[in-house]
């Protein structure tokens, strides 16, 4: 059976070039980079190249730090808890400004910190589904605020937040800014000089690198305390024997992802738009968020009368991987928070399915998906108790 992977916002295929570059660090150059002997030191040049690529990939300066972590969840935890220990617990700045649509590795850490005495304020989304600069200005009280933490692009809708403007403003009033850039890297240009953030989290497996390795950018001088203690790794900022293969893979993956950005914005976008047009040509469908506000690979679509999980079940039967954050789906019964926040008709909040492409997606795969999707939507609407065509 043909298999089509359209869940690239969840994880991606490892680029074969990345895998090849990593291979030598398993059975040949397997030394611990902290060792004094040659087994340890012979991996240092590759680590240097990896760091060079990561620094270049996001525009970090030499005096800044880009530490290698195990995942973006660790990076997000590190930043938020460092802010808690270094700022919230020690000063009168108790507040973290964030959004209602952050990944759980931000939102649930905030919830945890709230129980420890932090004050968490969620900025409302505007009608485009993003937080705009005006809203941030209206809510940001510098003397009370320890950190602003806003994702660069949303995982479910693909909507891009105006990080450059918001980071610039936040900096100008003397408040720290963190962004979870997991869904941005490899999809849009990310540069910490143009968008002056203090902390930026990313994860290799979202841009065709390996799982189990992520990164955290820390601007020079930004408050910091490690999450993991117990060694001198990463300059004492993140203990734990360094995942050399993962670090090498992430560095190359970052470089390749940035090189592929023009392709992402032409070819991936063209295929995404083709699928999106096909979805919109079915009756009673909608796509969340304006196309020009989204990363080029993502579609969050709603099919009236069709429950999201039922649809991904059907697609899976034909080898197509898509996902949903709606009530019946996944292991949670919560309605999709992004759509609720955006103010989409509550009835539609359980009908959302996300398709996310990558530079490995082919036209043939998109054509096949359109065919299967059309049939599945028809079948499920025939069973549906709530769907009557053109009900409005």
């Amino acid at each position: 059976m043909q298999r089509v992977y359209l869940d690239n916002n969840a994880t991606t295929i490892v680029d074969p070039k990345v895998k090849e570059a990593m291979e030598v660090y398993f059975c040949q150059q397997y030394g611990n980079p902290n060792s004094l002997h040659e087994f340890g030191t012979e991996v240092h040049p590759a680590m240097r190249i990896a760091l060079d690529r990561l620094y270049a990939g996001i525009g970090a300066r030499d005096e800044d730090d880009v530490i290698v972590t195990s995942c973006a969840t660790e990076s997000n935890n590190t930043v938020l808890k460092a802010i808690y220990w270094e700022v919230i617990a020690k000063t009168q700045k108790k507040r973290i400004l964030t959004t209602p649509v952050e990944h759980p590795s931000v939102s649930q850490v905030c919830e945890f910190l709230q129980n420890q005495g932090a004050e968490i304020v969620e900025l409302p989304l505007n009608q485009d589904g993003i937080v705009d600069l005006e809203t941030l200005k209206a809510f940001l009280e510098p003397e009370k605020t320890a950190l602003v933490s806003i994702m660069w692009a949303n995982n479910e809708t693909g909507l891009i937040f105006p990080i450059k403007d918001m980071a610039t403003y936040t900096h100008s009033v003397g408040v720290l800014f963190h962004t979870d850039a997991v869904q941005a890297i490899g999809k849009i240009p990310v540069n910490v000089q143009e968008a002056p953030v203090d902390y930026l989290s990313f994860s290799a497996h979202k841009f065709h690198g390996p799982k189990g390795v992520g990164g955290l950018y820390i601007r020079k001088g930004a408050p910091f305390v490690p999450l993991l203690h117990g060694g001198e790794h990463m300059g004492g900022k993140r203990s734990g024997t360094i995942n050399v293969a993962g670090m090498v893979g992430m560095g190359l993956a970052m470089e390749l992802a940035n090189e592929a950005l023009p392709y992402e914005h032409t070819e991936v976008r063209r295929l995404r738009d083709k699928l999106e047009e096909a979805i919109l040509s079915l009756s009673d469908t909608m796509v969340i968020g304006k196309r020009e506000h989204r990363v080029p690979n993502t579609i969050l679509a709603s099919f009236r009368g069709v429950e999201g999980e039922a649809l991904i079940w059907d697609l899976n039967k034909y080898g197509i991987a898509a996902s949903t954050g709606s009530a019946c789906a996944s292991e949670s019964l919560e309605p999709n928070p992004v759509m609720v926040a955006i103010g989409v008709d509550r009835e539609l909040s359980h009908t959302a399915v996300r398709f996310s492409l990558s530079r490995f997606t082919t036209e043939k795969e998109i054509d096949y998906t359109i065919e299967v999707l059309t049939n599945s939507v028809k079948r499920l609407r025939e069973i549906s108790s709530t769907y009557t065509k053109k009900r409005r």
């Binding site: 429950e307 999201g308 019946c328 108790s385």
Partner: protein
């Protein structure tokens, strides 16, 4: 289960083959019309439950023979996930051939059990049970419509969770039938509390008459009381070990603290069951009780009387 939980994401893998088959090809999907009813000589009943905004909605069609109250045919339509569709399909199948009064007794557990491949492996994971609860509720709705019970009177039912339209009765039943122990389980089974969360506990964005935490506590207390009562009646049939456990617990919690106030205590030395249903409990006094005059009179009567009241009237206590 621990390893499965560590791997995670195993929702669909835990569906039975029957659930998957009925999701892919539900036998009883579709509608029944007045014409079908006329042809079969029955009365058409159409019942709706749930709402699209809650993520699950089901419509049940019956044709009922008005003379015998037998359900001649059933169909359904569903807005819901695979489990919702499969449960509705099985529910429709279970209705056919039953009388309306028999059908009203079909519970979500009957539907779930009928969807199992093996008798002791659940057909769906627990967070999907709410889909079969829908099937249970829509039958009740159909019966109400068939019997001509005023819709208004149905609305008077105490609704605990407005978002998911879950009644007090459903919540109490589901806790009891499934032996639920946490609010999260109630939410998984019924969807009550999954949406605005106001009904979970006081302090939500809306004030409610009932809260899940209170209902859960009350029902659990009732269940414990009932269980203790059953245990009381069966005390004489228990093994020595079971008797010892119960006696040791009550002595430790209720009697020793009283004796301790006077610097004494006691231990159980032996327990014997006699043929005529009596339980002989041999105790040894410790500390200040040892040698106390009252130990053979007032204190002894008090201990025996207490055990007779609380555990079994045929207990006789012997100090040694």
């Amino acid at each position: 289960m621990a390893k499965n939980q560590l791997i995670g994401g195993a929702l669909w893998e835990n569906y039975s083959r029957k659930v998957a088959e009925r999701m892919d090809n539900p036998f009883y999907r579709g509608e029944l019309t007045e014409e079908d009813a006329k042809r079969m000589g029955g009365k058409l009943v159409i019942a709706d439950w749930g709402a699209e905004s809650c993520g699950d909605a089901v419509r049940l069609y019956w044709i009922v023979d008005p003379k015998t109250d037998t359900i001649l045919d059933a169909r359904f339509k569903s807005f819901g996930c695979g489990t919702a569709i499969a449960s509705s399909d099985m529910m429709a199948e279970l209705c056919i051939g039953k009388t309306v009064d028999e059908a009203v007794k079909i519970t979500n557990l009957d539907v779930e059990r009928a969807l199992r491949d093996a008798p002791d492996i659940p057909a769906v994971p627990s967070q999907k049970m709410h889909c079969s609860v829908m099937a249970y509720d829509v039958i009740k709705q159909a019966v109400a419509i068939y019997k001509g019970v005023d819709r208004e009177s149905l609305e008077e039912e105490e609704i605990v969770c407005e978002c998911a339209r879950v009644s007090l009765r459903t919540i109490r039943d589901v806790i009891r039938i499934n032996d639920l122990k946490t609010v999260e389980e109630i939410t998984q089974y019924t969807k009550a509390g999954a949406f605005c969360k106001s009904c979970i506990q006081p302090g939500g964005h809306e004030k409610r008459k009932y809260y899940l935490v209170d209902i859960l506590r009350e029902v659990r207390e009732e269940m414990v009381k009932e269980k203790t009562m059953t245990e009381e009646t069966k005390f004489s049939d228990m093994t020595i070990v079971q008797k010892h456990k119960i006696l040791e617990k009550i002595i430790d919690e209720e009697i020793r603290p009283m004796l301790a106030a006077d610097g004494g205590s006691l231990e159980i030395v032996d327990i014997q069951s006699t043929d005529n249903g009596k339980t002989l409990v041999y105790i040894r006094y410790l500390g200040a009780c040892n040698g106390c005059a009252s130990a053979m009179t007032g204190t002894l009567y008090a201990i025996q009387g207490y055990l007779n009241r609380k555990v079994d009237e045929n207990i006789v206590v012997y100090p040694i």
